[in-house]
Amino acid sequence: MSLIDVAMVAADTTRTKYYIEELIDNKLLPSYILLLLNSDEDLLPGQKESKFGSEIITLLECSEIEFDIATNSDINSNEVISEIAIRSEQVFIFSGFGGVLLEDKILNTGKRFLHIHGGYLPDYKGSTTNYYSLIDENTIGASAIFLTKEIDCGPILLRKKFAPPKDRTEIDHISDSKARADVLIECLQNYVSSGSWSFELENNRGGEVFYIIHPVLKHLAILGENVSQ
C-alpha cells in the first residue's frame, strides 16, 4: 500500500537503502521520495560507498515509487525547501547525510519530519549514542521523533531497545540502520492501523547529550561483550 500523506526526503546513504528495502518489504511505500545525491567524489557522513545512489534508484524504479532527484544535495538549500514545500504530503520521513541538521527555514515549511534517532530517547541524545549505550548497558536503541529546533528533543512516537549486534564492527552502517528501520516500520504500522500519529512520550526533556565517540571508547564498545561497570 502507498501511504498517501507520507513522503520521504533521503540522501544516498546505507541507512536510506535499509529504510527503502524495509518499506518495500513491509508494503509501506511513501507516496513520493526526494532523493539527495552526493555529486562529489568524497564520501559524505553516512555513506559507506558511492554506489548506493544507483542502487537506491534501481530499488525505487522496481517498486514504482514516485521519486525525483533533488536539484541540490543540501537539504537546507532553497531548491530543496521549495521542492518539499510544494508537495501535498504533510509528513516526510527524513534520512539525510550524517551530522546534517535541519535549519529553521525548512522546519518552518509546515511539514513534519519523521526522524529515527539512533539511540534510546531521552536518555541518549546527540551523536553515536549506541556506542555509549553498549558500554553502559549492553544495548542499542532507536527512537522515532518529529524533528524540532532543539536537537533530539521532538516528541517521541516510538522507542525501542535492542540486544547488542553479533557483529559490532559494522554498527555505523548496518546495526544502527537496522534498528532504526525496525522502529520506522513499527511507527508507520501504528500510523496505518490507528489513522493518526500517536506518541509514546511527548515530553522528550532531560537525558544526556553525547558527542561523537572517541575511538578508544568506540573500540571498547566493539570489543566488549559487556563492558558495563
Binding site: 557522513p45 553502559d136 564492527t169 558527542y211 561523537i212 572517541h214 571508547l217 571498547l220 566488549g224
Partner: protein, 239 residues
Amino acid sequence: MNYEYTEVNRLKEPHRYMYTSYQGAEFIHSYLEDRLGCVKILQSDDNQSSYNPIDLYLYSEAFSNLEDYLNTELSCQTFKPIKVSINLEDCLDKSNLSTFDIINDIKSGELLTALLFNQLNGKNKELIKSWLDLLVQRFEVTKKLYEVYPSGFRKGSGASNLVRIYWLFALSLALFYVSSKNIKYLNTLLKVSDLLCSLEGDLLKESIPSNGLLLILFVELISIKSLSKTIKEVEFEFD
C-alpha cells in the same frame, strides 16, 4: 600501529573524530603505548614548584580527592604523583560560581578555576554540571577552548592555544567522571588528553604542573582499564 590522534600538534590541527575506523585490539595497545610515552616525558620534569600557585593548589587538592581512585588500580608507587601542600587562602574568593552568567563575557580560566574549587569542595553539583556541559559542548563543536566567551557563550574570542586552559578543563572532566562515572565526560577527557599529549614536552612543562597532567593521564588510563576489564584482548597492567 601509530596512534594518529597525537601525531601532530592538535592545537594547530584539531582532529574531528568523525567515523573513525575499527582497527582491532591493537589500537587500544597503540593508545596505551602513546599515553605511557607522554607519562615518561612528564616524569622527567623535576621542576615542580615554579608554577602558578593556584594551579599547584588545584593539583594538590585534586590529588587528595582522587587518591582512592588511583589506589584501586595503580600497583607501582613510582606512578603516583607527588602531593604538593601550599597555603592559598587568598584565592578562595575566586570560587563563587554564582557570579558567572552567560549574559556577560566569561573568561574560561576564571570559570574553570571556580568550577574546580567547587568540585573539590563538593559544592553546587547542579551548577557544576551545567557549566561543565556548556564547556564540553563548546569544545566538542570546535575542538578548541577560547580564552573568552562573550555574552551568550557561543563563539569564543581571544587565544585558543592556552595550554593551561585545556589542563584545567581536563582536570575538571577527570574529577567529574570519577564522581559520576558518566562516560560522556571520559569521552571528552580522552580528546583533551590527546590534544595535550600532542604538544611538545617543553611546552607542557613550561605551561602546567607536570604532575597535574600525570594525574589526569592516570585517571584516564585507570578508567579505560576498568572499562576494558572483561575484554581479554585488552588486558594491561601498569608496571
